[in-house]
């Protein structure tokens, strides 16, 4: 199993390298030039100034050299320097990470805490009115764009309850109340589609498991329904949910870009958003690689959890 984890990690690194190359190339293809953008306001820019700035940013080098120097830096944890702030990208990521992490985890927690019980209820009372209505809600939850949902939530919360969000962001260790008040709506909006997907997936896998022979055996022992559902059916049907969560995590990471920008949350998502606007390639590249790494890591974790839950799976 350890050998498996190592192999998977190596494979993940390869994927990460490919992502890096791809993003690197794509960023160069986007129209617009960071040098012109930075010097735009200053009147009477000379070609010498342009060249000097380009040289300072390393943009005068051939693309391949730029790529190589980036990669060799990245291996040591140095993701380059921001064109905009001139700060090391790694440092910027570390500073922005907590907010995004909090948002992502809150979204996942929301999807699990609500999605799992809803899925179980749907499965136990399948085809009931409750199940039908939950199905409707889930389909809506999966298809509604999260930013639109977020805007809807803000609007109606203020209309109906006169509640509005604090305007200034606070880190959780500064003011937990303010922090949660700001985070609640984007986390809800981000987690909704994952929550809906989780409850659907759990419903169908649990339905299948509850009709299986071994659940019948457990019932034949006179086990109370609670034990049947939670211990036996639950553990057997949660496996596909883990896979789903791993994949949903990608959606959630993607969603942070827009939602953090809308809610002015100083996380990596909004960093990516502004950096793209400013053609701040090193920051965009660094953040994307970081997201990619997190995604790959989470899915590796899912596979390992699988092996812990299901004794039939022994990776070798």
């Amino acid at each position: 199993m350890i050998g498996y984890a190592i192999r998977r990690t190596l494979y993940g690194l390869l994927v990460l390298f490919l992502i890096t190359t791809f993003v690197f190339v794509v960023l160069r293809l986007i129209p617009g030039d960071v040098v012109r953008l930075q010097l735009a306001d200053a009147p009477g820019v000379t070609q010498a100034q342009v060249d000097a700035l380009a040289a300072e940013l390393g943009l005068d080098q051939p693309v391949f050299t730029q790529f190589w120097s980036f990669i060799s830096g990245a291996v040591t944890g140095d993701l380059g320097t921001s064109f905009e702030t001139r700060l090391p990208v790694t440092e910027m990521i570390v500073e922005r990470l907590p907010a995004t992490l909090e948002l992502g985890l809150l979204a996942i927690m929301f999807s699990v805490v609500l999605g799992v019980p809803l899925g179980i209820i749907s499965a136990i009372r399948h085809n009931s009115f409750l199940d039908q209505s939950l199905r409707l809600v889930s389909v809506a939850g999966i298809s509604v764009p999260n930013f639109w949902l977020a805007l809807l939530l803000i609007t109606y919360l203020s209309i109906w309850f006169g509640w509005s969000q604090p305007l200034v962001y606070a880190a959780p260790w500064e003011n937990l109340g303010t922090n949660l008040a700001i985070m609640a709506i984007p986390a809800l909006a981000l987690g909704t589609s994952a929550m809906a997907a989780v409850s659907r997936m759990l419903r169908s896998s649990m339905l299948e498991v509850t009709q299986s022979n071994f659940v019948r055996t457990v019932r034949s022992r006179g086990a109370p329904e609670r034990l049947v559902i939670l211990k036996h059916a639950g553990r057997n049907s949660i496996l596909p949910v883990f896979t789903l969560l791993g994949l949903q995590f990608g959606n959630i990471l993607g969603g942070t870009v827009i939602l953090e920008s809308i809610f002015s949350i100083p996380g990596m998502g909004s960093l990516i958003f502004t950096s793209v606007q400013m053609r701040d390639y090193p920051v965009v590249l660094g953040c994307v690689i970081f997201y990619g790494a997190v995604f790959i890591f989470v899915n590796l974790l899912v596979d390992l959890v699988y092996a812990v839950i299901d004794p039939r799976i022994r990776y070798s």
């Binding site: 199993m1 350890i2 299948e208 009709q211 022994r314």
Partner: protein, 341 residues
């Protein structure tokens, strides 16, 4: 019907190479040894088994539950990778070939399960289940495939209305017949039947046995027939292998092995066959004495010596090997050539 059956399928004519040649096959399963627990010695599920199977021949495989029959069947089809030894199918060594080379052979060898329902995807209809192997192996046109489905169902004694149903809607016996129909979709040359008729009532069992025999006569299929009912095995097989704890105890012609079992384990097995008698003449079967040994730590010498009523000194130390005795092969010190002299 020849009685001089031996390790090689001589009855099928010497000039023709056997369809299947198994040599010194070994399969060990690791035990325990997750991330945290220490690994204990492996289960020796199959521990040095050799036999061959001719074209159109049926080889019965019987033995103690847990003696490695299913494992052997799955090794033959390369559904499991062997620890050592070789399986040669129609001249091609499939133990060392890559999975991609084995795949075209899959069409030519099929497995019928001990337990058909669990091997079916519960969400596929019987029609989809029957079509799948044909689609995978690119057999026939869609209309031909459909016709073949109906034909096969009829052959195994099910109405074509079964096509639209799901596996759980069938009784154990019906499901088993679907399993047989599915295995026949690709016109295999070798069929491993792992307790294919155990779940059937005797009249349908008789039907299925007749079906298997007639298919064999028409298409020359070879069977590796694993079962517990010795009367059934005797009826269908040309030769019979008896397994005990991962090894072959005895190989012989099926009538001969039933009439004159040599190995003490075979004798115990045949003594245990329940007879259909009146309650007044009812005798309780005397179960074989002793504990079934742990397959991770098989006894030294003859693995049967812990339970053998005839054991003697040599049995605890020397491992008996298969020796010919009046046309049968027996792995027991009682029949060693020097002992019989």
């Amino acid at each position: 019907m020849t009685l001089s059956a031996t390790l090689d399928s001589r009855s099928q004519g010497q000039e023709q190479a056997p369809l299947l040649q198994v040599t010194d096959l070994v399969k060990h399963f690791p035990v325990g040894g997750g991330l945290l627990r220490k690994e204990s010695p492996p289960v020796r599920a199959v521990d040095g088994v050799s036999f061959s199977l001719g074209r159109g021949e049926t080889l019965g495989l019987v033995g103690e539950s847990g003696s490695g029959k299913s494992t052997l069947g799955r090794l033959v089809l390369r559904l499991l990778d062997p620890t050592a030894g070789s399986v040669v199918f129609d001249g091609q060594d499939i133990t060392t070939s890559r999975q991609s080379q084995v795949k075209p052979l899959r069409r030519r060898m099929q497995l019928i399960f001990q337990d058909p329902v669990s091997s079916f995807n519960p969400r596929m209809t019987i029609e989809e289940l029957l079509l799948e192997p044909m689609v995978v192996h690119g057999i026939g046109t869609p209309t031909e495939r459909k016709r073949r489905c109906v034909e096969l169902l009829d052959q195994v004694g099910l109405a074509s209305s079964a096509l639209a149903k799901y596996p759980h809607q069938f009784s154990g016996g019906q499901a088993q017949r679907i399993g047989i129909a599915r295995a026949l979709t690709t016109d295999p040359e070798l069929l491993v039947c792992d307790e294919a008729v155990s779940a059937l009532d005797v009249s349908i069992q008789a039907q299925v046995l007749n079906l298997l025999k007639s298919i064999q006569q028409e298409q020359g299929i070879s069977f590796l027939f694993i079962a517990h009912d010795l009367n059934v095995v005797r009826y269908i097989s040309d030769r019979v292998c008896v397994m005990y704890l991962g090894k072959l105890a005895e190989v012989g012609g099926s009538d001969q092995i039933m009439a004159e079992p040599r190995h003490p384990y075979t004798q115990a097995l045949i003594r245990s066959i329940p007879a259909v008698t009146a309650s007044s003449s009812r005798v309780e079967r005397i179960p074989l004495q002793g504990e079934i040994p742990n397959p991770s730590r098989p006894p030294a010498g003859c693995t049967f010596h812990t339970r053998c009523p005839l054991r003697f000194d040599a049995c605890d130390q020397d491992v008996p090997t298969l020796h010919e005795r009046d046309g049968s092969l027996v792995a027991c010190h009682l029949y060693r050539p020097e002992a019989s002299a």
